[in-house]
């Protein structure tokens, strides 16, 4: 072992520059975030003022929560295109329950669940759509891209059908039905911090813990890294895959509730193309679409880069057309850098191992 240790030291001594380069590469998204913030704070007055930051963080919260669910799916080498539609459906379910209640035709009854129950029902609907995605992928062997593309359309159609395409406005509830309080999620605060930002922090904390420290998390990485090896090691691959789509559906539904609550209205088109933002956040954060590699923290940082960039460019008065171009270039640059980092990492690891042998 002693010879191994000296060999290791020999590897490390001349490669301090290299490991620094590698560390910089690994933290590139965070560095990018800091650079973007620094740039906007210099060019935009009040960018670093608390009210601005809170607004930016509120915008980021939605993408971050979607991205967290998406990260689990992508880690298993899957993809979930239906999250934007689930945002719409969840909002519409909540809006419908508050505005018109739940009709039970054969009893001739209309039930108005309270705000908490309403949210739980909407979350259950989102999770159920995730379950359908999971079953399509695992039991019926539909490619994740196709399965979730299908549910994207079905769920969006369902969102439109709930109200016949109309918006449910003014979701304040009716004290007579005891279903008030829904807007609190969007406008309330905890210790001065908006609830949506708190929710993002809680989601990120739990998800990071689950991904890094639990058996389920480890198995998610294994399924994405090598499904056959995972199966032969006794991992219940189908169960893992089904659960990640349910997590994604749950996260999307929660994001949908935030959107509806902030607007105090639910619109059936809410959440369109949100799936792309979620994927972009995950990819920016270093999650590999091939599966098995990525982290919740990375996704969170990725969501912030997209959010800060978007809001900062608006404040700078850059046209929305240019904003899209810039956003696209940032995503491509992130993936290119990721590839370079992978190659560097592999080469260094191989060299270290050769010296050891």
């Amino acid at each position: 072992m002693t010879s191994g240790a000296t060999a290791l030291r020999a590897v490390h001594a001349p490669s301090r520059g290299r490991s620094l380069a590698l560390a910089l590469m690994r933290l590139r998204t965070l560095i990018a975030l800091i650079l973007v913030c620094a740039y906007f704070s210099l060019t935009t007055p009040n960018f670093l003022a608390l009210p601005t930051l809170v607004i930016v963080a509120k915008h980021v919260a939605i993408n971050a929560i979607l991205g967290i669910g998406m990260t689990f799916v992508i880690l298993t080498a899957g993809i979930d295109l239906s999250v934007g539609s689930i945002v719409g459906v969840a909002g519409m379910v909540a809006g419908g329950l508050i505005s018109t209640g739940l009709h039970i035709t054969f009893l001739g009854l209309t039930i108005y669940p309270n705000a908490i129950e309403t949210m739980l029902i909407a979350l259950a609907v989102g999770t159920a759509i995730g379950l359908i995605n999971g079953l399509l992928v695992t039991r019926l062997n539909v490619a994740p891209f196709i399965a979730t593309l299908g549910t994207l359309y079905v769920a969006r159609g369902a969102a439109l059908l709930i109200s016949n395409g109309r918006t449910f406005p003014n979701l304040v509830g009716n004290p007579a039905y005891d279903n008030t309080g829904f807007p609190i999620l969007g406008s309330g605060t905890l210790l001065g911090i908006p609830l949506s930002i708190c929710a993002m922090a809680i989601f990120a904390g739990i998800a990071a813990y689950v991904a890094a420290r639990t058996k389920f998390g480890r198995q998610v990485y294994a399924v994405g890294g090598n499904e056959r090896a995972a199966a032969l090691s006794g991992v219940r691959v189908n169960r893992i895959k089904t659960v990640v789509y349910m997590i994604s559906g749950f996260c999307a539904a929660f994001a949908g509730l935030i959107v509806a609550s902030e607007l105090v209205a639910s619109h059936p088109a809410a959440g369109e193309t949100f799936e792309l933002n979620a994927i972009a956040a995950a990819v920016l954060g270093g999650t590999s679409l091939a599966g098995g590699r990525g982290s919740i923290f990375g996704t969170l940082v990725g969501a912030f880069v997209i959010g800060v960039l978007g809001d900062g460019l608006v404040m700078l008065g850059v046209s929305s057309f240019w904003q899209m171009v810039i956003k696209g270039l940032v995503i491509i640059a992130a993936v290119v850098l990721d590839q370079i980092q992978q190659r560097m990492h592999r080469r260094f690891a191989l060299q270290a191992q050769l010296l050891l042998a």
């Binding site: 058996k215 480890r218 890294g225 056959r228 098995g292 592999r346 270290a352 042998a357």
Partner: protein, 518 residues
């Protein structure tokens, strides 16, 4: 070795060729001369370097050191197309056909006939295919899809494809392994025909009697070096085996382990093959504590399928599997692992390691339940177990957090074995545990298996390496065509007996089916 004297009989010469891969030396200063109008046989055990040498000659791989000379002039092949242009054709061991295309399309894949440089001339393409297939004396419809053909027929198409270009040197890597007896006769006629036309043939085969029948000169490779050369007329099967295998040097145990109680019992296992016939043909076996059982067989004998059946990977199988007296029917892989049965799969890259994860995560993947404290993995406990297993198996790694992909083949294999050991198994199944790892690592793998057997596990491994099975197993089973064709105690077994049993024909008269393990 005398340097390249312009021998008019030699068309291609490989001089001092070496090839290294991360962690292994596949070829070590190999000299190889290919004679015109002759069948140049290359033999050696798995991992001896035959396929690597052929890939270098065919331009698929570039040598790390050494050179090639064609007609006395030095040549460098940058790609397989390069080699093709010089008249070198190759029939690979694994089939290289596009199953979604027709036979005719496959035969002119590289340069299909075109009309006015734009679209493919189907008539001419079909005509060309018919001509080639007629030469193969085989009634294959050139319009049929390759995926609809039997494996043997696909092999014929593969050979026809190599002949489509005008070849001066034709490399055949185990061309007969998938053919029926009648098809082998056709193959031999084609070879004789090519020889008359002056084509140099390089022929690789494990079937020693075949080599004696059609070979002219033979080169034996062992562990990446040339072991011996001879004219085929001067040698016999005994000579070939002795040169290929070498002295048996894997140390026998101090005392042969007394086999303990029965751990794993298999009764009448049958696995039908999709294309008809049986992959496993009524296999009945019993494995005991403290015993190392080696299963020897050629490619496609059904060894991997046997193990996968035991792990519950196939639903179509019939028969019973009992572990410690309990029937495993209907249990998932996870449940079988829990009850103490584990598999170290054959294809380490495809089924074994999870390349992106660390050595630590790879090691504990199958036994995460052991380390749980409520919901979370107890990282200290996990780390302790991992350090211990790295130490026991002497896995060479700077830290358990290194990605497993950075390790050498032998160390990756130890990680996969370590993963199974952490589950606390009763019986361990190792499918070709020494495939693609170097000689030193091989010996260490077998030392590990011996220790496990001494600790009271039932150990079963498969191999295509005669020396390994003779040297490392307490009991030797031979499989051929899904049947157990030999069952010897080590003391009773001889190389000749084992080799003979491994080439026993199946009940329907065909030879082995290489597609089964592909």
């Amino acid at each position: 070795m005398s340097p390249a004297i312009a021998d008019p009989d030699v068309i291609l010469k490989a001089e001092q060729v070496s090839k290294t891969f991360p962690g292994t030396i596949a070829l070590n200063n190999v000299d190889f001369a290919v004679r015109r109008a002759a069948v140049n046989v290359l033999v050696g055990e798995n991992g001896a370097g035959k396929s690597t040498l052929m890939k270098i000659i065919a331009g698929v791989e570039q040598p790390t050191a050494g050179r090639l000379a064609l007609d006395g002039r030095p040549v460098v092949f940058h790609s397989i197309r390069d080699a093709m242009r010089q008249g070198i054709g190759i029939v690979f061991q694994e089939l290289n056909l596009c199953p979604n295309l027709s036979v005719a399309e496959n035969l002119s894949l590289a340069d299909p006939p075109v009309r006015f440089g734009i679209d493919i001339d189907r008539e001419q393409q079909l005509g060309r295919a018919r001509e080639l297939l007629a030469r193969m004396e085989h009634p294959i419809d050139p319009t049929s899809l390759v995926s609809d053909l039997r494996i043997g027929e696909q092999q014929i198409v593969e050979i026809a494809k190599a002949l489509a270009a005008d070849v001066r040197i034709l490399i055949m890597d185990e061309p007969s392994s998938a053919l029926s007896a009648a098809e082998v006769e056709i193959l031999f006629r084609i070879i004789a025909d090519l020889k008359r036309q002056g084509v140099a043939i390089i022929y690789i085969s494990h079937r020693l009697e075949e080599i004696l029948r059609i070979g002219d000169v033979v080169t034996v490779l062992r562990d990446g070096r040339v072991q011996a050369r001879a004219n085929v007329k001067d040698i016999d099967v005994g000579w070939l085996i002795a040169e290929m295998v070498g002295p048996i040097e894997v140390a026998p145990p101090v005392q042969a382990n007394a086999a303990g109680e029965e751990v794993l019992a298999i009764d009448n296992l049958v696995l039908p093959r999709a294309a008809g016939g049986l992959t496993l043909d009524h296999v009945t076996l019993s494995f005991r504590r403290g015993e190392i059982v080696g299963i020897y067989g050629l490619l496609g004998a059904g060894r991997s399928e046997l193990f996968e059946c035991l792990m519950g990977r196939y639903r179509r199988m019939s028969g019973t599997v009992r572990l410690m007296g309990r029937n495993l029917a209907g249990l998932s892989i996870a449940e079988r692992i829990e009850r103490g049965l584990v598999l170290v799969p054959e294809d380490r890259q495809r089924d074994g390691i999870v390349p992106g994860l660390s050595v630590l995560s790879n090691l504990t993947l199958a036994s995460l339940g052991r380390f749980l404290r409520l919901f979370a993995i107890d990282r200290k406990k996990e780390r302790r177990a991992v350090d211990e297993i790295i130490d026991t198996l002497s896995i060479k790694v700077s830290s358990p957090d290194v990605e497993v992909a950075a390790l050498s083949g032998g160390n990756q294999q130890k990680v996969v074995i370590g993963r199974s050991l952490l589950t606390g198994p009763q019986a361990i199944l190792c499918d070709e545990p020494t495939r693609g790892i170097d000689v030193g690592a091989k010996a260490e793998v077998f030392r590990t298996l011996r220790r496990l057997a001494d600790d009271g596990l039932a150990v079963v491994f498969t191999t295509s390496d005669l020396k390994e099975v003779m040297g490392a197993a307490d009991r030797i089973l031979v499989m051929s065509h899904g049947r157990i064709t030999g069952d010897f105690r080590r003391a009773e077994a001889s190389e000749a007996l084992v080799v003979e049993a491994s080439t026993a024909r199946s009940r329907d008269g065909t030879r082995s089916t290489s597609g089964a393990t592909a």
